[in-house]
C-alpha cells in the first residue's frame, strides 16, 4: 500500500478541531471557515532490508567515487564522523540508523585490516553529547569498543591543537576544520538527512569546522539571503558551504559521504493519533488524546518534559546513498522532498503553527524562548520552496507556552543572551554588531563548551540570525498561550486564545485575513506556487 500524499484542506462546517502542538502538550483548536490546513504526506514505506541496502550503497557508490572497500587498506587511518544528537527528532528507536551504518563501515574496515579508526561526533558549535546519547546513537558495542581507548571523540571547535587551516575560498572564507578528520586517509561522514537543510557539503564544512570558519555563513547577511535555507538552490548558507566543501576537497581531504533518509513515522503506538488526520481518529485515538493531553497539562513542566523527551520515534530508513558528496546529496534531497513536499497555491495573510517540545537544540532539555523563536521563525517558517507560506508583511501565530525557562548546563549563554542582550535590542544586525564577539570569545562559555555539555557562547546568536529572514519578511509575530513577559522580551505579542490572536493579527494584515495552518507532526514542507 502506498502512502497518501499531503494536501491542503479548506476548513468548512464539518471540519473537526485541529491538533496543535503546545510545547510539552497539545490541544485541539478550531479554525475559522475558509482557513487552509496543510497536511503532511503519510510516512513512506521503509526499505524492507536496511542491512543489505546499506551494504549495497557502500559498494555501489553514487557519483565519482570508488566503492568503500576499494578505499580501505591496511595501515591507513580511517575517521568516521557522524551527525550529533540534534538529529533525528525525537531520537529514533534503537537501533539508530547511525549505528547500523557505522557498524557496516567498521565491518568493512575490519575486513580490509584497517585498525586505526576514530569516531568523531560532528558537533560544530553544539553541545557535547552525553554518554547515554552516544550509546544510543552508536550502540553499546561501538561505544564500548571505542570510548575506553579514547577513539570516540567529539569535535572541539575551540581546540587549537586539533584544528587545521585549509586556506580560504575564492570568496575569502576561512576554511578551518578538525585536523584529525582532515588529515585522515579517508573521512567517512555518516549523516541523517531529516530535513532538506541537512547534509551535503554542510556536513563537513560546518559540522567539523571552527568558529572562525562557521562565522562566514552563520551571520545575519547570509541568513537574510537564504530564501529559504531549506532550499539549497536559493540559500546563501548553502552556497557558502558548497564553496567551502569544494575547497576542502581541493585540499586533498578525501570524503566518503553516506547520507540516509528516514520516513516521517514520528510517534510510537500510544501517541500515534498525533500523526493522524483528525476526522480519522477512532475512539482509541480520542481517548488517548484526552488522557495524554490532560495528564501532560496537569503535570509539572519538568515531568511532562521528561515524558515527552523519553519518546523514541519508530523512524524507518527510506533511502541510503554513499559516495561523492554532491551526487549523493542530490539523490538524498529528491528522497526528502518526495516524503515531505506538498504543493500549496499562493501565500496567505496569516500562518499558524504549533511548536512541539523538541527542536534540534533542546534534545533532553528545555525549549527556552530563544529556541522557541528559532524553531518557529528559523525552522518552521523556512519549510518552503519558492516563496514563504505567508505573504510579506503577514503575521505568524505560534502556539507555545514560551516560558522564560533555561537549562543552565546546556544553554548557559542563552540565559545571558536573554537577560543581557534581548533587554537591549532584538534587531539581529545590531545584536551581531554589538554583542556577538564578546559572547563568542568569552572564556567561561568556551570552557563549558569544551569540558561541559554547553552550547558554544555564540550559539544563541545563530539562533537569532536563523530567524532574521522571517523577521525581515513578517509584519508581526504572536505567541498563542505564550508567557506575556517572555513573549514581549522576544519582541512579539502574547495572545490567550486563537480568536484573540487572529483579531490581533487583523490590525496588521487587515480585515478578513486568509489563514494557513502548518499541521505537524509529522514534518511537512510547502512548495508555494
Amino acid at each position: 500500500m502506498t502512502s497518501r500524499p499531503g494536501f491542503v484542506l479548506e476548513v468548512d462546517r464539518s471540519t473537526p478541531p485541529i491538533l496543535m502542538w503546545h510545547g510539552n502538550s497539545y490541544r485541539l483548536e478550531r479554525f475559522p471557515k475558509g482557513a487552509r490546513i496543510l497536511y503532511p504526506p503519510e510516512p513512506q514505506e521503509p526499505i524492507k532490508d536496511p542491512k543489505s541496502a546499506i551494504a549495497q550503497a557502500l559498494e555501489s557508490p553514487t557519483g565519482d567515487s570508488k566503492p568503500l572497500s576499494a578505499l580501505l587498506h591496511k595501515g591507513m587511518r580511517l575517521v568516521i564522523a557522524f551527525d550529533d544528537v540534534s538529529l533525528p527528532l525525537p531520537q529514533m528507536q534503537a537501533p539508530d540508523v547511525r549505528q547500523m551504518v557505522i557498524e557496516a563501515v567498521l565491518e568493512k574496515a575490519a575486513e580490509h585490516g584497517v585498525d586505526d579508526v576514530y569516531l568523531i561526533a560532528a558537533l560544530a558549535l553544539h553541545r557535547r553529547m552525553t554518554e547515554g546519547e552516544l550509546r544510543h546513537a552508536l550502540g553499546a558495542r561501538v561505544y564500548d569498543a571505542f570510548h575506553p581507548r579514547k577513539r570516540l571523540l567529539q569535535h572541539d571547535a575551540e581546540d587549537p591543537s586539533n584544528l587545521v587551516d585549509l586556506g580560504t575560498t575564492e570568496h575569502g572564507e576561512v576554511v578551518e576544520i578538525n585536523k584529525l578528520a582532515a588529515e585522515a586517509d579517508l573521512l567517512v561522514y555518516v549523516n541523517i538527512n531529516l530535513v532538506s537543510m541537512d547534509g551535503g557539503h554542510k556536513s563537513v564544512a560546518t559540522g567539523l569546522a571552527s568558529y572562525r570558519s562557521i562565522r562566514h555563513h552563520h551571520n545575519v547577511k547570509t541568513m537574510v539571503h537564504s530564501k529559504s535555507f531549506m532550499d539549497m538552490h536559493n540559500s546563501e548558507l548553502h552556497t557558502s558551504n558548497w564553496r567551502m566543501g569544494r575547497h576542502i576537497a581541493s585540499q586533498g581531504v578525501k570524503i566518503f559521504q553516506i547520507e540516509t533518509t528516514l520516513n516521517t513515522d514520528t510517534f510510537p503506538k500510544p501517541f500515534e493519533f498525533l500523526s493522524k488526520r483528525e476526522w480519522e481518529w477512532n475512539l482509541k485515538d480520542r481517548t488517548a488524546f484526552i488522557a495524554s493531553s490532560t495528564s501532560l497539562q496537569a503535570s509539572p513542566d519538568w515531568i511532562s518534559r521528561d515524558i515527552m523527551h523519553k519518546i523514541r520515534s519508530p523512524y524507518k530508513l527510506t533511502g541510503i546513498n554513499a559516495g561523492e558528496v554532491e551526487a549523493v546529496h542530490a539523490k538524498t534531497l529528491d528522497k526528502v522532498f518526495s516524503q515531505q513536499l506538498v504543493n500549496v497555491e499562493g501565500q496567505s495573510d496569516i500562518l499558524t503553527m504549533g511548536l512541539p517540545f523538541v527542536g534540534p537544540y533542546n534534545v533532553n532539555s528545555i525549549m527556552n524562548p530563544i529556541l522557541v523563536y528559532c524553531l518557529a521563525l528559523g525552522y518552521f517558517f523556512n519549510m518552503y520552496i519558492g516563496k514563504p507560506l505567508v505573504r510579506p508583511g503577514g503575521v505568524v501565530i505560534i502556539s507555545h507556552p514560551n516560558k522564560a525557562e533555561f537549562d543552565p548546563a546546556f544553554h548557559p549563554s542563552y540565559i545571558d543572551f536573554y537577560e543581557q542582550v534581548l533587554t537591549e535590542t532584538t534587531d539581529p544586525k545590531e545584536i551581531e554588531k554589538r554583542f556577538e564577539e564578546s559572547f563568542a570569545n568569552d572564556p567561561w562559555y568556551i570552557h563549558l563548551y569544551r569540558k561541559g555539555n554547553a552550547y558554544h557562547g555564540v550559539h544563541p546568536f545563530y539562533m537569532w540570525y536563523w530567524g532574521a529572514h522571517a523577521l525581515d519578511h513578517l509584519g508581526g509575530v504572536i505567541i498563542l498561550g505564550g508567557d506575556p513577559k517572555a513573549t514581549r522580551r522576544l519582541g512579539f505579542q502574547p495572545a490567550s486564545t486563537m480568536m484573540d490572536a487572529i483579531e490581533m493579527a487583523k490590525s496588521v494584515v487587515g480585515p478578513d485575513p486568509s489563514i494557513t495552518h502548518l499541521h505537524s507532526p509529522p514534518l511537512v514542507m510547502a512548495k508555494v506556487i
Binding site: W302, I366, E405, D407, P408, A409, D416, D442, W444, G452
Partner: protein, 776 residues
Amino acid sequence: MILEGLEGKTVFITGGTGFVGTALIERILRTLPNTDVVLLIRGGRRSSPEARFQREILKNNCFDSLRDRIGSKEFDALVQERIRVVSGDVSKDGLGLSDKDLAILGECDIAIHSAATVSFDAPLDSAVEVNLLGPSRVAKTFNDAPSSRENRHFIAVSTAYVAGSRRGDAPEISLANNPLYPDVNWRAEVDAARQLRDEIERKSRDPKNLEEFQRRSRREVGSAGVAILAERCEKLRKEWVRTKMVELGRARASSLGWPDAYAYSKALGEIALSEAVLDIGVSVVRPSIIESSLIQPFPGWIRGFRMAEPIIISFAKGLLKEFPGVPEGVIDVIPVDLVVSAILAVAAKGADERTNYYHVASGSVNPLRYESLVNMVRDYFQQNPLYDDKGQPISLPKWSSPGRSKVQNEVNRAAKVLGVLEDVSSLLPLRGSRLNFTKDLESKRLEVERALTYVELYGSYAECEANYLVDHLDALKTHLSDTDLEYFNFDPRQVVWSEFVSKVHLPSVVEHSRVKTHPEKTSTSSKRRSERQLRSILTDEPRLVAFDLENTVIAANVVDSFAYLATRRLKGSEKVALVASLLAEAPSLLSLDRKDRGEFLRYFYRRYENAESELLKEDSWSLLNEYLLTKAFPDAIWRVRQHRRLGHKTVLITGALDFVVRPLEPLFDEIVSAEMTEFDNGTLTGQVPGTPPIGEARAEILSQLARKYGLSDDQTIAYADGTSDLPMLERAGTAVCVNPEVKLLNIARRRGWRIENWSRAKGASSIYLPIAKVNQ
C-alpha cells in the same frame, strides 16, 4: 534701631550648626552689613571646625537665596570678611579656647549662646553638661576674657518650657524668683548626674549584663567571628548605658515637674546662670516650639527633622491612628525667623541692669488650638495624600481626641506584634527575595517604635496648658523702627495659622521627610539609587572582587557536593542509603555549622578520608555539569565576568575543597579554597591543614590579595551571603550581599550595602536530593 544698634559690633555665636544658630548667621550676613560674627564650633572626630562650618552651615539651603543673589564668589568673599571660626566646646571649662581665640572672644560685644542638646531624650548627664552648665560656662568665659569693649551683653537662648508642666500664666521672670518652682540645688544635680553615669557604666560591665549583650549580638550577627561579635557587644553595652541614662533623666525631670530632661536641664541652666557672678549684661530669650520659617530666608525653611514633624508624618502614613492631646489645648509654635528677629532685637537694644527674660511664643496672643492644627493637618493630607509602596494613597483616620495613654497603648500593641513577627521570620530558613516582606516588617516596626517615642516625648507638649506671656516681647517691639519691622518683625500676631500650616509648614515637612507624594509603584529615587550603586561597583577603575561560593554563586554547600561525589559511583540502593544517613545527620550538622564554621568543615571533611583523589578529580567535572551548574545563579556568573571584562581581578574565596571547585577555575582569576592533603598512595587524608579560608581569615585573605595586586582595601568588592562573611564584607571597600539571610539582611540595610537577589535558572530540573545521575 537694630541696624544702628548692631553697627560695628561683633557677635559671638555658639550652636551655629543648629536650627536657630544657622538662621541667625544667615540673617546677620544678609541684613546687617556692618556686624561681624565669631562662631564657636566643636571639631568633629574627623573634621576640623572650619570644615564643619563649610559643610554643616554654609552648605545649608538657608544661604541659597543670598548666594544666588550676589553670586558665589562674592558670597565667599563676604563670609571670609565677616565670619571667623574659633575652635571650642561648650561642655568644657573655658570652652576649650586657645589664648588667641580667647582674645577674639574678649573683643566681641555680644555673645549669643544657642548651643544645646535639643533632643528631648538626651541622656541625663549630657543634658546636664551642655544644657545646665553650658549657659553659665559660656557667660563666665565671656565675662572673664580680657576685653576693651564696653557694655558687653550675653544672651542665652533657653526655652519657654522651662515653665514645666504647670498650668496657667507663665510670666517672663527668673525661675529663681518664682515660688512655683522647687528649690533645687543645681550643683547637687550635676554631681548626682555624674555619679549616676559612673554607676551605670559600672553596672553595664556586670557579668550578667555582659552575657546578655553577648547573647544578643550572637543572635544579631550569628557566627561572624570574634572581632565582629566583640564590636557589636560593646555597641550594645554603650546603647544600654545610654538608654539607662535617658530613663534616669526623664525620671528625674518628671519628679521635679518638668516634662523631660531637656526642659529640666534648661531650667536649671537658667538658675545657674542667674547665680553666676558677672560684670556683663545678661538677657534670656525663651522661644516655644520652633518650627519652619514664616518668611526668611524663604517661607518653609527648616533644618533637621524637628519635633512635630515625625508625628505629622507618622499620622499621614497611617502609622499613628490618633494624635494625642487635648483638643482645646494650645500648641505653642513659633516660626524660626521670628525667634531670630527677637534675639537680634534683644541684642540691639542692649542689656538692662537686671537680667531680662523674653518669651518668644504665640500661645497667649495668637493661639493655635490643638484641634484646629489637627484639622489643618488632616485637610492637607486629604488633599495631598502620601502613597504607599503599591502606589495607593493612604487614607487618614478620623481624630477622636484620645488621651495620650490610649494612643500609647495602641502603638505599643502594634510594635509588639511587629516585633514578634520579625522574630518569627528570623527563625525561618528564608533567603533572598523571599525575605522582602521582612524589610517591610522591620521598617514598619522601626517607624512604629519611633512614633511611640515621639508620642511619649512630645505628648506632654501637646498637653501643656501653660500660657506664655509676651509682655517683654511686646515692649521690645515698641523700639522697632519701620525698617526694622520689614526685616525683624517678631510679633507672633502676624502668623495666620491656617496659611502657615498648610502653605508653608506642611509642604516643607513633606519635602524633608522623603515620603512618597506620587503614586508610582517603586519610587524612582530608589531605582536611581540602585543604578548608581551598580555603576560604582562596575567601575572601570581597578578593583579586586571577591566572591563567596555557597549561596552567593551556587545554591549548594559542602554537604551536597560530598553527597554527589560519594554517590557517583554507588549503586541505586546504596545511594539512597548514604543520602538518608546524611539527612538524618542534618540537624546536628546545621547546628555545628552555625556555631563554628571552621570546626564544622574539619569535622565534615574527615569523611573524605581514604577517597581516591584521581577519581574525585574526574568526577568533579560531572559534579559541575550535572549538579553545580543547575544550582548556580546565572546572574552571579554573569557578574563575575562583567567584573573581569572591566579588568577587575576576581577571586573565589571558599571553604569548599580544591578538587570540588577546580572546574570553576576559568571563571575567576584566582581561587582560594581548602586544600586536603593526600597519602602517598594517592588517597585523601580527610585533613585540611592550616586555617580554612572562612570567617575572619577571609578578611585577611582579601587584604593580602589586594596588596598582591597593588590595591588598597578600599579598592576591593566582596560578594557574600551570610553573617559568617561579615569580616570580609566589612573589610571590603564595597560590600554586596547576595540572597542574604535575615541577620545579614538587617545589617546590610542599615549600612546601605547593595543587596542582590539572585536565583537559579528557572526550569532547571528540580533536584531534591544531591544524588549523581544514573547513566542511561
